[in-house]
Amino acid sequence: MKKIALAALFIIGVISVKAQDVTVDQILDTYFENVGGREAWSKVEGYSMKANVDAQGMTIPIDMVNLKDGRMVTKFTFQGKEFVQQAFDGETTWSVSFMTMKAEKGESEDTENYKRTISEFPDALLKHKENGYTIELDGEDTKDGVDCYKLKVTKKTQLVEGEEKENIVYYYMDKENFVPIMQEQEMMSGQMKGQIAQTLFSDYQEVEGLYFPFSMTYQTEGGGGQTIQVESMKLNPEVDDSIFMFPAEEVTEEGEEK
């Protein structure tokens, strides 16, 4: 399988240079072949990862779990305390306030928009057709000094301040090895509305036969960013359902450690 993938990489590489007629399907097929194969990707039921964020002198550990049914939790540990930065329990998104250390529900619009992305799991490019996404080859561009194919991925609409708005994400696929090295999306609300949010992918590493980016940098175009460095990753982890649940009531009482 891997040999075939490599052959495909060569063939498509040559075709793309000479004929300039590479198709979206060829790009995606080669991408998935290079990162472990569509079949193996389709079997992923969930993954968990341990990662770090370096903030000049502070290394903040992060734990993430994402499941196929959409449930997910991202926790970070700070001074020994765990904070849920983002979670979804099947019903609602929630997080823990840094001020009160209590769980608070996400805005309903954010929850709804998150729900619309659940069927993408584990990769929006994998089942885009079933999900009704359209992907077009929107030319070529250079990102991080690398020549890339630019894929325009039109997803289901998203809610922005109560209105249905189109949801477009651009993927930049390295022309040499066909993996995405960057994503771009316009910010739809807030003070930064209209500006471009970028996610950079690198440090691809193998996890049980599949390749994942172990480094993800989130930044605004031309601005500063924050990198999540993955330390370890596990496929189909066994997890306790309770980690996703919005705490029914405040479980800690004044004066008592949970």
Binding site: T100, G145, G194, S202
Partner: protein, 1026 residues
């Protein structure tokens, strides 16, 4: 893993043959080097066009004279640039009514044709709301006045092309496309001198079009508006046939004609005409769709400078409310019979936009930015986040941080800092000249003295900032002198050799060695002195316009060699390059030695080389002769021979140039469409586009101490490319290596307070440069596969901190803010802010280690103390010792709490299954909790619900305040330290007691019952960071 390694091999193989600096494009070279915009935005700049969404009033676009297109998504509160990759001079913006959220057209080339206006290069289209743009032709149109889109068919457009300002141009007239801009048909054309200056479409019947045609021409020395061919036309058959509609207009020649149709009643039109009969110029109204016209008004506000103010905008629902652009802007509420001025704002109004939902709200575009009114133009407020000001020139001083000085189109002269606590804000800028501002210079050694000027050297000021006094110091004619001719943007410069020296250029070169008090002419007339080009009082055409903007046959650039004060270069606006080697006694005109340069091409800038006194670079700008080629020449023999250093890589005519001070092959060129860099003396050029718009760069300056390249742009304010020294080091050898560390100078740890920043969210704030250490390296290939890490180690190899490495192909810059790492802090109910402080490292040499796959790359970074520091080394040592003590104590405390928590959790769990142990565990827990409650906060939250501080919090407070100040800790802090040390000692003793009693009892019981003892991390393991 086999695949992965194969990918690596494939990657390496492909990258090997693609190297060599000639082959690098900007993306693969400049990497993390980013341009930094500092505005300012307080005076903003010229807005040439405003366009709003037809139904959603939150979406507003503006086109600017030199700063591109900006979009607001929030009803005009905040604006973002959306056209940075393309020509920044905007004629018009149009929204497709059938697809208003997505499809937008931009016609480039401003149509308000002042002397300093830039040029356009065609029409552009976006189908995604401005994220990406395609050029759709009309490349030679030069200026596009209007784009009208069929309301039901997005493929049908009519475009008014005003055309070239500076010469004849066949690509004028009305163009039509029926295939969305793929092909264009010129459907109406008068002649090569008469362009379409306005085109409007009947909003009800798109087959009805009105077009005004304007015969006009600028030269560098004159302007002419009007002629037999200026006229107003109408078509009722979608542009197939056109008829003049002048019934009611006066006889004779016309100049520029404005026209507008009332959206609420398409029979009503307004027109403002420039005619031979001044009394019959001004506002006309038609109530029969242009069949007949009635003259209403020839007030100043309606007839003033038609070339600059020919826009009429009518209220969306009331056809009797009409606004005319002008010096102050005029609004009528009685159908154009009488007018009053719009509310107070920056003069020179170019366009108006009424909010579609609430027409009392309107926007106004001026020479000084965009204004908003909520009461039909009575009071105006400026939008404060549009840094679109137009610098003609800039200079820098040597203060810390250095200041930048410059003059602006219609916005005076200013200076402001290159960085400021909280960012460069409006309040950081100081005005030191009025009118139009041009060259502004600081005195080279007296930082409180500066020179500025206004148009045509009507004033040259020497300003003393210490006493806030100005004195006009311009050279006056003396007995026997002819009239002195000064350019609109008159040449002034200071000397690198004599600090009190000032040069001013008229047609003569004037020199003063006493800061402008006394002047000596040190040259004859250095220009061509062509009398035909000196008739400015005749300039303007139908409307006289002698503002000084057309003054010609003047000196425009002066450069005294820094290596020899007797070598002075002078360039004139009529194409002469003159040089003296004897301080002005004799002059040689070297112009005839410049092969390939058309005669009389404006010499815009001469740069005297800092490497060799016979070497200079001369930049010529031919655009005022309708020549848009790029000209930059180099001489190494005092102008006896000149060689072009321009290649096909460069797009757009150039005005500015900068030679690097260290690497003579590193050169910078500022063109009308952005910045170009060469690493090899001009063999090839690379465009710099990282956060750098394609804006006109009128002046380039390099700061010697910081190696910053500073750009005075004519449309986007001041843009700085911080520290270009990495570019000096890019060679063929470097780019062939996998990873190459660039040498950096020692980095200074600033001890300045970071307080600052008073701007609100809606005000522009210029970004500061990064003020930490920078690790700079070149990667020949982007790192995509496998692990890559970066660490800082001290000179003994101890771990200091980890950094996130850059992975781009090209130059990577990784910042390090001189800190080591935060202490491990005891876990409590809340977090402690004291534990977020990482101590700064002491001065010294630090090792940088990058691990990339199997390879390790090492370099060093040198860190030194702030040279302005008030601290002695002994004081620092005391601080560092106390910080270290508190850091260690914090971690010791953390470990103690960790042990307590571990034992208590273990005890609780064990007791659950072994009831026998519950009493022992309960006893142990009581003792441990009693101790723990004195060590950390165990209740409350992180905000105002916080509980009383305990030892961890008090220790953290002291630690962070001592760590925050690099000098000796205060006596109070030392006394507090003693107290905390005492409390820590008490805690230690209490813990020892517990260990000896209740904990021992518990552990012994476990042993006896053959139960597992809790496993604890060792202290070293607990505090480990790398």
């Amino acid at each position: 893993m086999k695949l992965l390694s194969t990918l690596f091999i494939v990657g390496c193989g492909l990258s090997l043959h693609a190297q060599g600096i000639e082959k690098l494009n900007g993306d693969a070279l400049f990497g993390d080097m980013q341009a930094r915009h500092i505005g300012p935005a307080l005076m903003s700049g010229r807005v040439s066009d405003i366009e709003g969404h037809p139904t959603d009033s939150k979406t507003v676009y503006i086109g600017t004279a030199g700063g591109g297109v900006w979009k607001s998504n929030d009803g005009g509160v905040m604006f973002n640039p959306i056209f940075d990759d393309h020509c920044q001079s905007i004629g018009c913006v149009a929204i497709d009514p059938a697809s208003p959220d997505k499809t937008l057209w931009v016609g480039t080339g401003e149509v308000w044709t002042r002397n300093s206006t830039s040029i356009g290069d065609g029409i552009y289209k976006t189908t995604n709301g401005g994220k990406t743009w395609d050029k759709m032709g009309l490349e030679k149109s030069d200026r596009i006045s209007a784009i009208r889109i069929h309301p039901e068919n997005s493929d049908v457009l009519f475009v008014g092309v005003q055309g070239a300002l500076w010469g004849p141009n066949e690509e004028r007239g009305v163009y039509k496309t029926t295939d969305g801009g793929v092909t264009w048909e010129k459907i109406f054309y008068i002649d090569e001198n008469t362009g379409c200056s306005e085109l409007i479409m009947d909003p009800v019947n798109p087959d009805i079009l009105y077009a005004s045609f304007w015969e006009h021409r600028r030269t560098a020395w004159s302007f002419s508006s009007g002629g037999d061919n200026s006229a107003l036309y109408k078509s009722t058959d979608a542009g197939k046939t056109w008829n003049k509609i002048h019934k009611g207009f006066p006889e004779g020649k016309f100049g520029r004609i404005a026209v507008a149709i009332a959206p609420s009643n398409t029979s009503i039109l307004y027109s403002v005409i420039e005619s031979e009969d001044k009394n019959l110029s001004g506002m006309y109204r038609s109530e029969d769709a242009g069949a007949t016209w009635k003259h209403l008004n020839a007030d100043f506000g309606l007839v003033v400078r038609p070339f600059y103010f020919s826009r009429i905008v009518i209220h969306p629902t009331n056809p009797d409310i009409v606004v005319k652009a002008g010096l102050f802007g005029s609004i009528s509420r009685d159908g154009g019979n009488t007018f009053r001025s719009l509310g107070s704002m920056h003069p020179d109004i170019h366009d108006i936009w009424f909010d579609v939902k609430d027409p009392d709200k309107l926007f106004v575009g001026t020479d000084g930015g965009l204004y908003r009114s909520l009461n039909l133009g009575n009071t105006m407020e400026i939008i404060e986040n549009l840094p679109i000001c137009q610098f003609y020139h800039i200079s820098v001083d040597d203060q810390e941080p250095y200041n930048i000085y410059g003059g602006l189109q219609d916005n005076g002269s200013w200076f402001g800092p290159s960085s400021s606590p909280g960012g460069v804000e409006a309040r950081d800028w100081e005005v030191i000249g009025v009118g139009d501002g041009f060259r502004v210079y600081p005195h080279p050694t007296k930082p409180h003295i500066m020179y500025s000027e206004m148009q045509g050297a009507n004033a040259i000021w020497r300003y003393d900032d210490k006493v806030r006094q100005t004195r006009i110091v311009k050279p006056f004619p003396v007995e026997g002198d002819p009239k002195l001719r000064f350019n609109w943007n008159a040449a002034i410069t200071t000397s690198l050799n004599e600090p009190d020296r000032l040069y001013v250029g008229s047609q003569f070169l004037h020199k003063s060695d006493d800061m402008g008090n006394t002047w000596t002419k040190i040259s004859p007339d250095l220009t061509t002195n062509d009398k035909a080009k000196q008739q400015q009082e005749e300039s303007g055409g139908l409307s006289r316009d002698n503002s000084g903007a057309e003054n010609h046959c003047t000196i425009f650039t002066i450069a005294e060699s820094g290596l020899d004060q007797n070598v002075i270069w002078v360039g004139t606006d009529d194409g002469n390059v003159q040089v003296t080697k004897d301080g002005g006694k004799t002059w040689v005109n070297t112009t005839q030695n410049i092969a390939g340069l058309p005669a009389n091409t404006w010499c815009y800038h001469i740069e005297a080389s800092s490497f060799n006194k016979g070497t200079a670079y001369a930049v010529f700008d031919g655009h005022t002769s309708n020549d848009k080629n790029t000209y930059c020449y180099k001489t190494t023999d005092y102008g006896q021979t000149w060689t072009s250093i321009i290649t096909n890589d460069v797009y757009g005519f150039a005005r500015s140039f900068q030679e690097d001070y260290v690497n003579p092959d590193l050169l910078f060129l500022g063109t009308e469409f952005g910045l170009y860099v060469t690493l090899n003396g001009g063999k090839n050029w690379v465009k710099f586009e990282n956060n750098m718009p394609a804006t006109a760069i009128h002046y380039l300056e390099m700061h010697k101490r910081t190696n910053d390249l500073i750009m005075g742009t004519h449309g986007r304010g001041i843009i700085i490319l911080d520290d270009v020294s990495p570019l000096r080091q890019v060679t063929n050898e470097v780019v062939a290596k996998n990873l190459h560390f660039m040498e950096t100078k020692a980095f200074e740890m600033s001890e300045e307070s970071t307080f600052g920043g008073t701007s609100s969210e809606t005000q522009f704030v210029g970004r500061n440069p990064y003020d930490g250490a920078k690790v700079i390296y070149y990667l020949s290939k982007r790192h995509t596969f496998g692990k890559m890490t970066m660490k800082v180690l001290d000179s003994e190899g101890n771990f200091v901190t980890s950094l996130t490495p850059g992975k781009k192909k090209g130059i990577n810059i990784v910042g390090w803010n001189f800190t080591s790492n935060v202490p491990v802090v005891a876990k409590g109910k809340t977090i402690t802010f004291g534990g977020m402080v990482a101590p700064r490292v002491p001065a010294g040499t630090y090792k940088i280690v990058i691990e990339k796959g199997k390879e390790t790359y090492e370099s060093t970074v040198e860190v030194k103390y702030d040279k302005n520091s008030i601290f002695t080394l002994a004081e620092r040592k005391k601080q560092q010792d106390v910080v270290r003590k508190l850091y260690n104590m914090t971690e010791e405390l953390a470990y103690m709490v960790y042990q307590l928590d571990t034992y208590m959790e273990n005890g609780e769990a064990t007791a659950k299954d072994n009831a026998k142990l519950s009493k022992t565990v309960a006893g142990m827990k009581t003792e441990m909790n009693t101790l723990k409650e004195t060590l950390v906060i165990t209740t409350g939250d992180n905000y105002v619900g916080s509980a009383e501080n305990q030892l961890r919090e008090n220790m953290g407070d002291l630690y962070s305040t001592v760590a925050d100040y690099d000098g000796e800790p205060s006596s109070t802090q030392m006394e507090n330290l003693k107290k905390i040390e005492g409390e820590m000692e008490t805690a230690r003793q209490t813990f020892e007691k517990i260990k000896g009693k209740s904990l021992k009892k518990y552990l012994d019981s476990l042993e006896k019952m053959e139960l597992k003892k809790p496993i604890l991390k060792s202290y070293e393991e607990f505090v480990k960071k790398d």
